[in-house]
Amino acid sequence: MNDKSDMAHAARPVASTDMSRRDVLALAGATASVSVIPTLLDSTAMAETAVASITVLVSFTVNDQRQQLNIDPRQSLLDVLRETLDLPGTKKGCNQGACGACTVLVDGRRIVSCLTLASMHDDAQIETIEGLEKDGELHPLQEAFVAHEGLQCGFCTSGQIMSGLGCIAEGHSGSPEEIQFWMSGNICRCGAYPGIVAAVADAAKRS
């Protein structure tokens, strides 16, 4: 699959290749963008020059890896994780701080990454869902989500798990009621709440 333009016009199924679903989606998105760029280029050239002149340098650690990035100050931490660092496990749900799907840990505290500018996190230690698995072993809270079926569609799950880590670390996992209250910043539209609460309670007991 070296020739991207081939992919855009390919009518054949891609299941026989070794590409993941995510690779296919990313590639399709990239080729679609490429095809519209020539028509927009003239009108956006000025704006892009202006933006390029105000990029800022930021360095922080994501999942134990040091990152030094030149970014637009408008970029949220969420967008930098997903688009610049290719860590799409952190999800963009509402993009206004209401759903919790983008929850990550910054210096050990759970926050919503959509409502914070990446450029304000110089020297921070950031942990995302991608960093939880160690040596091929899922994190105990990930295991608990599997065991208790704390998900259906899975879109909110990485945010639930990162928030669950914060909830346990803060000491707010003593009872199902307490977990419900302290996990209320994470919405699950499938309604997998009983499993989510059970998973957090189970992992809290083991930690």
Partner: protein, 325 residues
Amino acid sequence: MFPFTLEKAGSAEAAIAAAATGARYIAGGTTLIDLMREEVERPERLIDINGLPLGGIRVEGDDLLIGALARMADVAADNNVQRLQPLIAESLIEGASPQLRNMASMGGNMLQRVRCPYFRMLDVGCNKRTPGSGCAAIEGINAGHAILGTSDYCVATHPSDVAVALVALDATMRVHGPQGERSFPVEDLFRIPGDTPHLEHTLLPGELIVELRVPGGPYARNARYLKVRDRASYEFALVSAAAALAIENGVIREARLAVGGVGTRPWRLRACEAALAGKKPDRQAFEEAAELATEGVRPLHHNAFKVVLLPRTIVRALELAGEVA
């Protein structure tokens, strides 16, 4: 989002100098970034004040002092806050979500903007966003809007919970500005909309909130915050009440009462407080005092229920405060 420059403040003086010439302070960013993305807010210069040493929480005599950059979660979890001013801790925990409480600063909480949906809709009138453009909420969906302190120009409620507690407790705030330092009651920070709803607070250009001071009082430990809302947590108040009672020999010596979700600013109820003084802390006294809260209400098409819910919430909050008194 419109382009902007972002600078880190090296000192309070440098931040104030920048803000005095048009830059905007940013701390937690949970309100500002959201509104910038919606293009309701379009600052060209931001000053990141998170590096300033304004995050401390300390005790001075009976008074509790809270730095403006202290995060809501840290204030709520602080031993001194829980011991001296449990109303502050309770009102904080009832606000926002755990993630947002980890991010949002106390100073930013005071200055958060309204949650009226029309404020965010660029294609409808909003006198707060665009002076002179009208108020879409008055004839729109206004179940969540205010019944006290409204005008024909704006009916949005002030969304903060902890501000209601601070106003009830006679808290003051200290601000630094280009002209130096001053302190004033937190209550005086908030303006009612009148015909200028775009002017929300009384800070002068460049002024920076540095600290909140919550004075001790005989009622401080006997205080509860009750928040009535459409779901059990992580929702703005329909009606909330901060109630504090000092009871001596079976009689109310002093009462403090403020309500949220109903006013265009955190709403102190001094007439109710006066009516409680000298009474036995029973349901009859609470109901008689609570009736005074609805004086001058201006209900809208969808929020007349608040006129009924307000006194009931006050009675329940006073009963809860009476139980710990």
